[in-house]
Symmetry: C3
Subunit: 270 residues, 3 copies
């Protein structure tokens, strides 16, 4: 179990096409976990950036027509090169435009992992060409009572796209093939700082690059790691400002010992 050590040794170079709201945190979180971030979204520049990178993270938080074209072209280039590609469908379901863009991304780019909160993942399933929507009976919040429904839904999506599906929330659900992990790390206060989800996507990409033999565990380790960093920061934070900074501190100090000691994971065959 050397997920974090492997990231720090490999130092994956990750290309982000991500929203401008949380981009600084995304870069600092990537650095804190031992990766190296680079950002570009110009179509004349972005696809070429894959030539020197190990991974691509696409986040749909603040889209525009220029960056969408760069997302598609960079995603295709990353696929050609066999690079790790992560989709964070930030804001999926909020507008028709976002849904259209996300559908296009999922149709044209192959992702190793798709990570979002339950509403985003459900929205994404609804616009999917390869799945047939989401049952209305699936409540938005993941609870112990509806876990099996969420597993079934995530498994269908995972199989359709060949991607690890990570649904973040009070209980995180990570599904790939016939296995699901749930994790109970993190704290509700993290929702009061912007960008924890966006940062997680970068840590996931770094973790898959550095731990390629088991994508599911690599994604789970990343989500647990960010959650644990938040828990540790919460223990001394004086508000959401210091929670935010403490989260970066704790990510920069994270190691596999802490990860193993703090992880609250359950495994399910589905």
């Amino acid at each position: 179990m050397e997920y974090i050590k492997n990231i720090r040794e490999k130092c994956p170079l990750i290309h982000f096409i991500t929203n401008y709201v949380t981009v600084n945190d995304v870069a600092n979180a990537a650095l804190a976990i031992g990766a190296s971030p680079i950002m570009t979204d110009e179509i004349l520049d972005a696809p070429d950036m894959q030539n020197i990178c190990n991974a691509l993270v696409i986040n749909t938080g603040t889209l525009n027509e220029n960056t969408v074209a760069s997302m598609i072209a960079s995603g295709k280039r990353a696929n050609e090169l066999g690079h790790v590609v992560v989709l964070d469908p930030c804001g999926a379901g909020a507008t028709p435009y976002r849904n259209k863009v996300i559908k296009k991304l999922m149709d044209e780019v192959k992702f190793d992992c798709i990570k979002g909160n339950i509403s985003e993942i459900k929205a994404l399933a609804n616009v999917s060409s390869k799945t047939k929507g989401v049952d209305a009976s699936e409540a938005d919040k993941v609870t112990k009572d509806n876990l099996s429904d969420v597993f079934a839904f995530a498994k269908k999506l995972s199989n359709a796209y060949g991607a690890v599906i990570a649904i973040t929330g009070a209980i995180d659900v990570i599904v790939y093939g016939n296995i699901a992990y749930t994790t109970d790390n993190g704290c509700k206060e993290m929702r009061a700082i912007t960008g924890t989800g966006c940062m997680t996507a970068g840590v996931i990409a770094a973790s898959i690059v550095a731990n390629p033999l088991d994508k599911l565990k690599a994604v789970t380790a990343a989500i647990v790691g960010v959650g644990l960093a938040g828990e540790m920061a919460l223990s001394y934070a004086k508000g959401t400002g210091t929670l935010h900074i403490g989260l970066i501190d704790e990510l920069s100090n994270l190691d596999d010992l802490k990860l193993e000691a703090g992880a609250k994971i359950e495994k399910f065959e589905i």
Copy 2:
């Protein structure tokens, strides 16, 4: 007096088209006060975002032709839907382009509140189609000696646009109809961190959404709240970095008791 409680209970969803310099702070300040921020400036996406939001904040700090079109279209959509709309004419007066954009915004969109420092508000009055410029005698700095001039100027602007006019500075002046409030909260050190004004605009929007019956008091409470948060953070800050983070901490801990205890407000009939 439950301004802050009302924000935290209502949790207004606020759409920001704001500058990329301070956008992360704007989002975190909105979250800290209990609102929920969402950012988009693509013309194909932004107007639709109003359908799920309660308010729109337009900040002119970093303009470009694409986002200006989105500002206008989103502003009109917000007006149609009866949403709260706040203008922060960041950098008004600095360039002809900014002045042209701000004039266009004021001509085509109806604002509930226009907030800026005295130079920005004066510049805005100068480009206004509905007012006849600013008297040269109005000194740039608001002092106890020129308050009545500032009141008269702000009242004219408020009446012309039907908006609360908020002039921030060492003394803040907030004017609507025949009433002016001055507030003496905040500290000069806040000028040494970027984005306090931009954050304030978001807190204002949240406050108007959650306290719709008295816009003037809602705006005043927001300005006092941010000022108080800065004062409290200053008491332990070790420089402008910790002042910045402390400001977010204190916003996240703010409640109506603190607001009432710390507010330094004067009321004037004008």
Copy 3:
């Protein structure tokens, strides 16, 4: 030796066309050192902004076709007005597009200072129209053993472009005319936070505006100042989050006494 005092007294107004990853830190660092930052990259707005500014900083970290046009036009306008212009060729060498843009910038705009890490400066020399590439023997890392090679290379570039060449790293090298300074301030942990280089470019611009009689010393003071701020912050930082915030704190508290006491500078005739 009143480099910092001069900045705080002059309060240079600096126009940045810089990447959106670190733009908030760049603004806060400029404010912390006593300058006043303003950002705009719209072609209809940016060149005019020079009319009220003292300096322009161009950073190529996140380019797009629109901002590149604004960089060129604003650079030319700054040159016409005799303003200080600093180039931070962030990411030079990473892609053909970046190299093309940087070549164009160097061909069409006159810079007072070009600052980058050794890889960026070497990449920039390779695309230069005025120099003939970089010897392969120049190792990427600046060490005590290859200093004379680095001096010779930087001197050639400095003479070709009439600019102070600042190469940042474990050992910083600053070259202009026949003089080189090396500085040994800063700490390796600063590489684990994004934006220290971008912030340094702004501090350099502020320092040249406020200390125009000796550009080489002005640049050196700026680089030492940021390095010192990082060293001081490291002494109490608990991770990369608090290092980041501490760096801004220490910049805001920096004065010439601290600068003189902490500077580790060597001078060379080359």
